[in-house]
């Protein structure tokens, strides 16, 4: 087991821990962000080859890293940015309506 994979596991589990342990909505959004960055790190690790160059073939290279996971990582970054923006806007709306960010209090307000 190489060290970078352990880092991915630690980041992923920290994100999940943040999501299920915290009551504050902003902290839950931060947890989702941590999980997403761990997945991007995993995609980069899958494409990595020791001694390979970046996939820009202006000369003849012997060893080139895998371009497909890098393209998928770009997709993940774009979609992550979009949904975090939408989540933050919804959090702002919830705070304006209920005056609190605590998940338990919002649940109690339902009556």
């Amino acid at each position: 087991m190489e060290l970078p994979y352990v880092v991915v596991i630690i980041l992923f589990c920290l994100g999940i821990y943040t999501i299920i342990m915290n009551k504050n909505l902003i902290k839950i959004v931060v947890g989702v962000n941590i999980v997403e960055s761990s997945l991007i790190l995993l995609l980069i690790l899958i494409s990595f080859k020791l001694g390979g160059t970046a996939p820009i073939l202006d000369r003849k290279y012997e060893l080139v890293v895998d371009p497909i996971p890098q393209a998928l990582a770009l997709t993940a970054i774009v979609i992550g940015g979009s949904f975090i923006a939408v989540m933050l806007a919804l959090v702002i709306k919830i705070y304006k309506r209920y005056g609190t960010l605590n998940v338990d209090e919002i649940r109690k307000l339902r009556g």
Binding site: M1, V6, C13, I16, L74, I92
Partner: protein, 238 residues
């Protein structure tokens, strides 16, 4: 009783996370020891430059082999920007902020032309050097964001109206689809640029790689306008 219950719940959650960690450890151990041959990526690396005409293989995967995927991404940004624009209040909101010194106001004016050049360079050279439409679009979106932060939301909305930004975003989205339809008229599939023989040119020149530079431009316009819209809507909420 309630306190014991709370402590039990806490340990239960920690145990769940630890269980997940051990599960992932086993899965990654399997992934590492897999002895697979990556036929697809080897094909892209050996044949990709001849088939698409783009030197940058990430761009050729993103805009030629997986063009449909990129269309989906563009739709996600469009949806996010549209949702945030719906939620943002129409009335003018006083933005939180401070008065800066004159140094910052003057420096922003000097920085903006360089940002334009950098963003356009990243967009237009996306198929022959590192970069591409998404990165260039993000750099271009930094300009309205910087103006909004320093000069305030009112000045920014006066200079670059929200309608114009959504018009630019629409041009980007519709242009991407129209360029994709060009592949059908040439007798091939939707969003085909290498297969449809659009004069691929010499790999490494600025005008080469068929439709890829134009698709890059459309995505750059779209991402820039979309991110600027998202930022201004979030600022107006607060």
């Amino acid at each position: 009783m309630s306190r014991v219950h709370k402590i039990f719940r806490k340990f239960y959650k920690i145990g769940l996370v630890l269980f997940l960690a051990i599960f992932l450890l086993f899965i990654f151990d399997e992934i590492q020891n897999l002895d697979i041959k990556r036929y697809l990526s080897e094909h892209y690396i050996s044949e990709g430059v001849q088939e698409t005409g783009a030197i940058n293989l990430v761009t050729s995967v993103l805009y030629d082999y997986r063009g449909f995927d990129t269309l989906g991404e563009a739709t996600v940004i469009l949806t996010a920007a549209a949702t945030l624009s719906f939620m943002a209040p129409i009335k003018k909101v006083k933005m939180l902020g401070t008065e800066f010194t004159i140094i910052i106001y003057q420096t922003i004016i000097i920085i903006i032309p360089f940002l334009v050049v950098l963003g356009m360079n990243l967009i237009f050279f996306g198929h022959i050097s590192p970069g591409g439409g998404f990165v260039g679009g993000v750099i271009l979106a930094m300009i309205p964001i910087l103006v909004t932060i320093t000069y305030g939301i009112t000045f920014s909305e006066n200079k670059l109206k929200a309608n114009h930004k959504s018009l630019l975003e629409g041009i980007g989205a519709i242009g991407f689809i129209l360029l994709g339809l060009l592949g059908i008229f040439a007798g091939s599939n939707f969003l085909a640029s290498g297969q449809a023989n659009f004069g691929l040119g010499n790999p490494g020149e600025l005008i080469s790689a068929g439709l890829i530079p134009y698709l890059n431009l459309m995505i750059g316009i779209k991402v820039g306008a979309g991110l600027a819209t998202i930022f201004n809507s979030l600022i107006k909420e607060g």
